[in-house]
């Protein structure tokens, strides 16, 4: 089986295809001019009062590269093409450009790109923004620098090699002359753009911005409330819509009372959105839209609709019954994905007393970004009903996928769809699936007005692309010293493929390669298998994806084996990692995040290093009274290495408090250390939410939970009290950051709970377990 894995192997890249006509990133001028419909109050951040000229906007500008432009005043504009959802990427990638260029960070402005295939992938997913674009950003900066240096050299009649750009000017050291960037713009514009291979990249020690915690591009707006998210997108004359969707995936509309909805003050229209055709992929789900002059009226109107649905085949789905089915599937021999030695024979021949098995289970989870999915669309038609203009403003992780679904929905070429990317109030994978963009476009087309679609929290929790439920079965034979001599692990989960291929039941190589086929332990006999499972809800990727359930099994099981053998868990784990080596995965379908095993090997020495450092950071080995405990887990994901130690305090009555988290990450080259730290802190809280609280259930095919009262998240009072993070200094190529802290968290926490109470949690969430002890 196969589906189009994106470069990271993390989810699906539904690219809009290579458009035949490339559309430039809209300049601010064109951007404002395009707003014939009215005044737009969305804008990227600009230096206040500065004369901003943007990429492609003025004949006087120097535009050596798609990502960088300099105007005659010297103002540098850098294009940010990845979406900002809290990682700081709108700051980090431009830092690389600015540093290669030799720019003064204070004289740089950041412009957000529209969906534009020329920028390369904009799919802000898979923890790959820095990894995928570090070199590209260096080329952008170095190209501009070389041309400015050449322009200055020409002016002075010296060799360009003797000139150096730094602090926003080019200097010739020998003659002590210098010219500002702005003064060189005209001459530089006349030069040929050098080939990337001819460029000299700066040495790391020349960097003045990379590696520093510069203030975030968007900080001021986030603090004074002026930052614009998708929910804040506004055009004059826009209408506000909420949509009633079938509670069961694939249900059909039977009846509704539009009169009652229209009677609500402010409601102007009730209209149907046609149902999707299987597979649902990123299509609008379909339903009944209530359109009003404000969001509240639309919500009230929807309440009055009294929609009747026919559930269809998914109406029989019960998550509770499914749990038993899934666990059974994980215990049943499946498809072999990695096989070394003969684990099956070793398990069969072993003395049953030496065989240990355990089953782990992680339920469905919802993304629940604080800003729910939202989009504003303005679609204009001519008298023949053809689309003459299609523009959206939306919080999307993947504007090119939005162009793709707009093209499919409206019957236009993808490049005709202008997708403006706002700030995202969190994404976590939800906002790479642009079904909500399609909804807004359909409504705008049918109503002839700009329409803003807001998902209420209930819509978000009940109609998500859920993180899939996963069951993991682990088996090992232990020798007399407790060391595992044979190991079998098998997972079963409704796959992400089911969103793109109706009826798909097998785990993809991408999902299996997330912390499962790449098991890092030294074992003579190892088998990794996958068993099938059917999807009855929309399935999608969520921060760290299949690593969540795989790491839960793979990092809990060694702790169980250690305790069973009476061994100290940390030294047991380190021994299990085996010798420092690069893991070979010959014959295994393994994407390695789309990178080569030479550039990004599975390096056990790095995994060991973070494990040892996290243990040290946490003060591993301290004697703790009963009720307190430490747990550790290490995991490689998104080409980076992370180990986490969780410290807990469980009261006799079973109240859990996470007193401290100590995490160490090795992500290779790091651009903005404080944002890496912030992502690791966030991962510990995200991990707390999923481990302690998260569970989506379904009855009669419909999701039961609906808001934060029934789908709780970690809060100030139950989140980790203290989180310490260390970043390994490393010149290796950049790995991922945003998701890397999540996978080891839940197993480390459950290992800590075992150390504190002797109670083993193998099924999440923890809140369903009695942790009391005496």
């Amino acid at each position: 089986m196969s589906y189009p894995l994106n470069k990271s192997g993390q989810g699906i890249a539904i690219e809009s295809g290579a458009p035949s006509v490339l559309r430039p990133a809209l300049s601010r001028r064109a951007f404002m001019a395009s707003l014939s419909a009215g005044s737009l109050v969305l804008a990227t951040r600009f230096a206040s009062g500065a004369s901003v000229s943007l990429v492609g906007s003025s004949a006087l500008d120097f535009e050596p590269d798609l990502f960088v432009s300099i105007d005659p005043t010297g103002l540098v504009t850098i294009l940010a093409h990845r979406s900002e959802m809290g990682t700081g990427i709108r700051t980090a990638l431009p830092m690389v450009v600015a540093d290669e260029l030799g720019a003064d960070w204070e004289r740089v402005v950041i412009e957000q790109s529209i969906g534009d295939a020329r920028t390369g992938s904009q799919n802000t997913d898979g923890s790959q923004s820095v990894r995928g674009f570090y070199d590209r950003m260096r080329i952008a900066g170095a190209t501009a620098r070389r041309m400015l240096e050449q322009a200055a050299a020409q002016e002075w009649g010296v060799d360009a090699e003797e000139c150096n750009a730094s602090e926003h000017k080019v200097t010739h050291k020998a003659s002590k002359r210098s010219l500002g960037f702005g003064e060189l713009v005209e001459a530089a514009s006349k030069l040929d753009v050098p080939a990337p291979q001819s460029l000299r990249m700066r040495d790391k020690k020349e960097y003045r911005i990379v590696g520093k915690n510069v203030p975030l591009t968007d900080m001021d707006g986030l603090l004074d409330g002026s930052a614009k998210f998708g929910i804040d997108a506004r055009l004059d004359g826009q209408l506000y819509a909420v949509i009633a969707r079938s509670p069961v995936l694939g249900g059909t509309l039977v009846n509704y009372d539009s009169d009652a909805a229209l009677a609500v003050d402010g409601v102007v229209e009730v209209l149907e959105i046609p149902p999707f055709e299987a597979p649902h992929s990123f299509q609008a789900l379909g339903g009944v839209a209530v359109v009003a002059t404000n969001t509240w009226a639309a919500i009230q109107g929807r309440k009055a609709l009294a929609v009747e649905w026919e559930a269809g085949p998914n109406g029989a789905f019960e998550s509770k019954a499914f749990e038993a089915e899934l666990a059974e599937s994980a215990r049943t021999p499946g498809r072999v994905c990695r096989d070394e030695g003969d684990a099956v024979a070793a398990l069969k021949d072993a003395d049953p007393a030496d065989v240990f098995s355990a089953d782990y289970y992680v339920p469905f989870l919802a993304h629940a970004p604080m800003e729910p999915p939202c989009a504003l669309a303005n679609v204009e038609l001519n008298s023949d009903g053809q689309v003459t203009h299609c523009e959206v403003w939306t919080a999307t992780q993947n504007p090119q996928a939005a162009q793709g679904i707009l093209a499919g929905t409206l019957g236009i070429p993808p490049e005709q769809a202008i997708v403006n990317v706002t700030l995202l109030g969190g994404g976590f994978g939800r906002k790479s699936k642009p079904d909500y963009v399609a909804e807004a476009a359909i409504l705008s087309r049918d109503l002839g007005a700009p329409v803003h679609v807001t998902w209420t929290r209930e819509d978000d929790i009940r109609h998500d692309y859920y993180h899939t439920v996963g069951a993991v079965h682990m088996q090992a034979v232990q020798d007399k010293q407790g060391k595992p001599t044979a190991w079998l692990q098998r997972s079963a989960f409704p796959p992400i493929t089911s969103t793109f291929v109706a009826g798909a039941r097998d785990g993809g190589a991408g999902e299996m390669g997330m912390g499962f086929t790449d098991l890092p332990y030294a074992l003579d006999h190892l088998r990794v298998e996958n068993s099938p499972a059917s999807a009855h809800l929309r399935i999608g990727w969520l921060r760290s994806v299949a690593h969540i359930y795989h790491a839960f099994g793979v990092c809990s099981f060694p702790d169980e084996l250690a305790h069973r053998a009476g061994k100290e868990p940390l030294s047991y784990l380190l021994e299990l990692l085996g010798e420092d080596r690069h893991l070979k995965l010959d014959g295994v379908q393994y994407s390695n995040g789309g990178e080569s095993m030479e550039d990004y090997p599975i390096d056990i020495a790095r995994l060991r290093h973070v494990t040892e450092r996290a243990a040290k950071l946490a003060g591993w080995g301290r004697k703790l009274p009963k009720g307190k405990g430490l747990g550790i887990a290490c995991h490689r994901s998104f080409l980076s290495y992370c180990a986490t130690v969780v410290e807990v305090d469980v009261s006799k009555s079973g109240v859990l408090s996470i007193t401290k988290v100590s995490s160490v990450i090795d992500a290779g080259t790091v651009i903005h250390p404080d944002r890496v730290k912030a992502q690791m802190e966030g991962a510990a809280v995200f991990g707390t939410s999923l481990a302690v609280h998260g569970e989506i259930t379904a009855k009669d095919g419909a999701v039961i939970e609906s808001n934060f009262d029934t789908y709780p998240l970690a809060r100030m009072n139950d989140a980790p009290k203290e989180i310490q993070v260390e970043i390994v200094e490393n010149d290796a190529p950049p790995g991922g950051v945003g998701e890397v802290g999540v996978p080891p968290f839940a197993p480390a926490l459950c290992n800590a709970i075992f150390a504190a109470t002797g109670k083993r949690v193998r099924r999440l969430p923890i809140r369903h377990h009695d942790l009391s002890w005496s």
């Binding site: 915690n213 900080m219 506000y240 009226a297 998240l713």
Partner: protein
């Protein structure tokens, strides 16, 4: 027709008296700093001050505001330099930032009533504000920093 006072200005509004203050601010008055997150008083994204007290604007019908003064993030300071905003900047609190307006409004109200909050005070005062990005440890640290500045 009725009147409400927001950030020192009086606005005449003609809306359903049951419309929550949140939607009046966002969709009627065009003040979008205050955010929607749940609509049922569970997340705190919509936190504003009503006569100096932190309230959840999604759960307050506009008719209940009466002549009490509403303060939103747009009115917390004129220059983005309220001690809470300064501390938030210093600690690099925001990730996506979506919840942070509500966090700052809740923190500012907490510090007015408890200038030197203990961890337990912060737990009590801030647990109504969700942050999906997980900035809680920095929120806690920033509140302590802001408290020190406000005590000066």
């Amino acid at each position: 027709m009725s009147e409400i006072r927001v950030n020192g200005q009086t606005h005449e509004i003609q809306t359903d008296p049951d419309m929550p203050l949140l939607w009046v601010l966002r969709d009627v008055l065009g003040m979008q700093g205050t955010k929607y997150g749940c609509g049922i008083g569970q997340c705190g994204s919509c936190t504003v001050h009503l006569a100096g007290q932190a309230v959840k604007a999604c759960s307050l019908p506009v008719s209940a505001v009466g002549d009490l003064e509403v303060t939103t993030i747009e009115g917390l300071s004129t220059d983005g330099q309220h001690p809470v905003q300064k501390a938030w900047r210093e600690h690099g609190v925001p990730q996506c930032g979506y919840c942070q307006v509500g966090q700052m409004m809740a923190a500012a109200a907490l510090l007015t009533s408890k200038p030197k909050p203990t961890d337990a005070d912060i737990d009590r005062g801030m647990s109504g504000n969700l942050c999906r990005c997980g900035t809680y440890t920095r929120v806690r640290a920033a509140i302590k920093t802001a408290g020190k500045e406000m005590a000066k």
